[in-house]
């Protein structure tokens, strides 16, 4: 939030202890279609969590179940000790930003923000003052009297956030909140949304299909795929230690190489011994695995280095300005290496594997 914005958030500047959100054995079927299966999550109170995954993976369904807009087929949703599973949406104490924003076109901006207070019978003067306070929080102090149709996409997005926060909800839920904005605005809003969340301290869940958005905003990332949770963890952990091939290929870019575990801390990749990254449960010795290596953790050398390295030849070079992307053919495979470059097509090179070790994924 830029200077000049008000300092007291909906919580009145006091960050109270927020209860954890617990999801137990959750499943959802629509007729014969399985939308969600075996979801178990514990989201710390006050944190910003991103549900990320490709479209149709069940992330929006999970958010709608947390909001109370869908009823799960199996499992429970708990906020602290309170079982929310059968509590209807209007008694759940959630604030939600919808993908379409769902602003009410027949009401002014201020009336939209104050809608929840109106439903609760708060007097008009009080609720409009509160609406103004929230509009200042999202840096739109002068639009209260406007119609929704008179706002730009970015402004609507902020109004939707202000409206969702008006009742100081226990949970702040956002369904693809930035997908309708253009790239530049989106980046700015990512930072702003993160700051806003820190200020109000409300447990926040953001659904996004954009893994970069999730990685840059979240305290905790929940990677979803195939209607189940694939991995939960802080962004860096997910990036560095993907739990399976799905996560490794969905989050960031990865090179995949077939390998065989030869020791508790080493694998053999294309006839070369490479160390396994520590703190990762290694598959049993002798098993066939897939090794995932990030393009930026590979190094290109002219001569054979001391550490583990694979010999190959450069097939394609792409200068992206900040980095150079070099493609190297190693045996039957093409590896992508991003770094400083300095090679041209046809050069014979050594691709040095990371000293910190590689990640082995069950094949």
């Amino acid at each position: 939030m830029a200077p000049g914005g008000r300092c007291d958030g909906p919580a009145g500047g006091v960050t109270t202890a927020r209860p954890d959100l617990t999801i137990q054995g959750l499943g959802k079927r629509f007729g014969a279609t399985v939308a969600l299966e075996g979801v178990d999550l514990r989201l710390p109170g006050g944190s910003l969590v991103c549900f990320v995954g490709p479209s149709g993976c069940g992330k929006t369904t999970l958010l709608r179940i947390v909001a109370g807009l869908e009823t799960p087929t199996t499992g429970r949703v708990l906020l602290g000790e309170r079982d929310l599973t059968r509590v209807p949406v209007h008694r759940r104490d959630v604030g939600m930003v919808f993908q379409s924003y769902a602003l009410f076109p027949h009401l002014s901006v201020a009336e939209n923000v104050a809608y929840g207070l109106r439903i609760r019978g708060v007097p008009k003067r009080v609720r409009l003052a509160r609406a103004q306070e929230l509009l200042e929080l999202v840096q739109l102090p002068d639009v209260g009297n406007r119609r929704i149709a008179q706002l730009s996409g970015g402004m609507r997005q902020r109004v939707a956030m202000a409206r969702a926060l008006a009742l100081d909800p226990a949970l702040f839920l956002l369904d693809e909140p930035l997908s309708a904005l253009d790239a530049k605005l989106r980046e700015g809003m990512q930072v702003e949304l993160r700051r806003l969340q820190r200020r109000v301290g409300i447990t926040t869940i953001i659904v996004t299909h954009d893994q970069e958005e999730a990685m840059t905003m979240a305290d905790l990332v929940v990677v979803m795929g195939d209607n189940r949770v694939q991995q939960v963890g802080p962004p860096l952990e997910i990036y560095r230690r993907p739990a399976n091939r799905f996560v490794a290929s969905f989050v960031g870019r990865n090179n995949f190489l077939p390998a065989r575990v030869v020791a508790p801390d080493a694998v053999e990749v294309a006839g070369v011994l490479a160390p396994l990254a520590p703190d990762v449960p290694a598959p049993s010795a002798g098993s066939e695995v897939t090794v995932a290596v990030r393009p930026e953790s590979l190094r290109l050398r002219q001569r054979a280095p001391a550490g583990a390295a694979l010999q190959g030849s450069v097939t394609f070079v792409r200068d992206l300005g900040r980095v150079v992307e070099t493609r190297v053919r190693v045996h039957e495979q093409e590896l992508v290496v991003s770094g400083r470059g300095g090679f041209v097509e046809g050069d014979g090179v050594w691709v040095e594997l990371p000293e910190a070790g590689v990640v082995a994924l069950a094949s």
């Binding site: 209007h90 939600m96 602003l103 027949h106 439903i119 997005q157 008006a166 009742l167 839920l173």
Partner: protein, 305 residues
């Protein structure tokens, strides 16, 4: 024009008429002509007929008398007119109370689940008022109606006659005009962003509260237009009140039919028709204006760009 074009070889700025050529006028002329021949001319004849002089033999002669309009506005006919209007308003209210929530809930179901309901609604539209009136007079009769079935299973002591009567008329009115109301509301409701009532729910509005504070203000114009449509449709019905009603429920259209066909008093029938037309147009206009009321520029909800 052609010369100018040739000389300057730049694209001329054309008005809409020039751009489209003479075709739109030709195409528009046909419906205008049809409307004039089939609607304006007969209406003019009926309006004029109301001033003609009736002859005892059962016909009329051209003239200009005010007797017929005076009779159309006498105490008896005014009382019948108010009964007709009240009946039609009551039927309209009942129909809207059923059609609005029904259409709202229908359009929130997946498309495929909506189809059987829409087919049913369309199918019942294909029934004529006459068939509906006679079918209900059978179903509500003492001798062969539903009450026999209810008596057989023990829900009634003995079969009863539910027709003729006020409720039989209202029931048939609802049956005949409900599909019309649903089809008229359907486009507006299916364009309504489904996330709007959900958003109201997340802010603490119970489903009914959300419906009243968010959905209704957004569809009030469509609801009013549907109300006007249903009102006019029901007010013009004459087989239903005649077949299913007692004389107390005989509406102006029943009396128009009676005068025109039974009593051969065409000038009185014509003047009654004109009075009914004026009154129903005024009330329908009032209903539409009422719906447009507080928010004259309510835009349809759109997805954010």
């Amino acid at each position: 024009m052609a010369l100018t074009n040739g000389a300057r070889s730049e694209r001329p700025v054309l008005g809409p008429d020039e751009r489209d050529g003479p075709w739109p006028h030709v195409l528009l002329a046909w419906p205008t002509l049809a409307l004039t021949l089939l609607f304006v001319v007969p209406l003019g004849i009926i309006a004029a007929l109301g001033f003609f002089r009736r002859i005892q033999a059962g016909f009329f002669e051209v003239g200009f008398v005010l007797d017929n309009y005076a009779r159309a506005l006498d105490a008896f006919h005014l009382e019948r007119l108010s009964v007709s209007v009240l009946l039609a308003l009551a039927a309209t209210l009942i129909i809207l109370l059923v059609a609005v929530p029904f259409t709202f809930l229908l359009t929130r179901r997946p498309r495929r689940a909506q189809v059987p309901y829409l087919v049913l609604v369309l199918a019942s539209l294909s029934l004529s008022e006459v068939i509906i009136a006679f079918a209900w007079s059978l179903l509500l009769s003492r001798t062969s109606g539903i009450s026999n079935l209810l008596a057989r299973v023990g829900l009634l002591d003995a079969p009863v006659a539910w027709s003729p009567g006020l409720w039989a008329v209202l029931l048939a009115f609802v049956f005949v005009a409900l599909p019309l109301a649903i089809l008229s509301l359907y486009p507006t409701f299916s364009r309504l962003d489904q996330e709007l009532p959900e958003a109201a729910g997340t802010m603490g509005a119970a489903p009914v509260v959300g419906f009243v504070t968010v959905v209704l203000p957004l569809v009030r114009r469509a609801v009013a237009a549907t109300g006007a449509l249903v009102f006019i449709f029901v007010l013009g019905a004459y087989v239903i009140p005649q077949t299913l009603g007692r004389p107390a429920q005989w509406t102006i259209p029943v009396h128009i039919t009676d005068q025109a066909i039974m009593k051969n008093h065409l000038p009185l029938a014509a003047s009654l028709a004109i009075v009914l037309l004026v009154v129903s147009s005024l009330i329908a206009a009032a209903i539409v204006l009422l719906g447009a009321g507080r928010f004259p520029r309510v835009a349809l909800p759109r997805r954010a760009p």
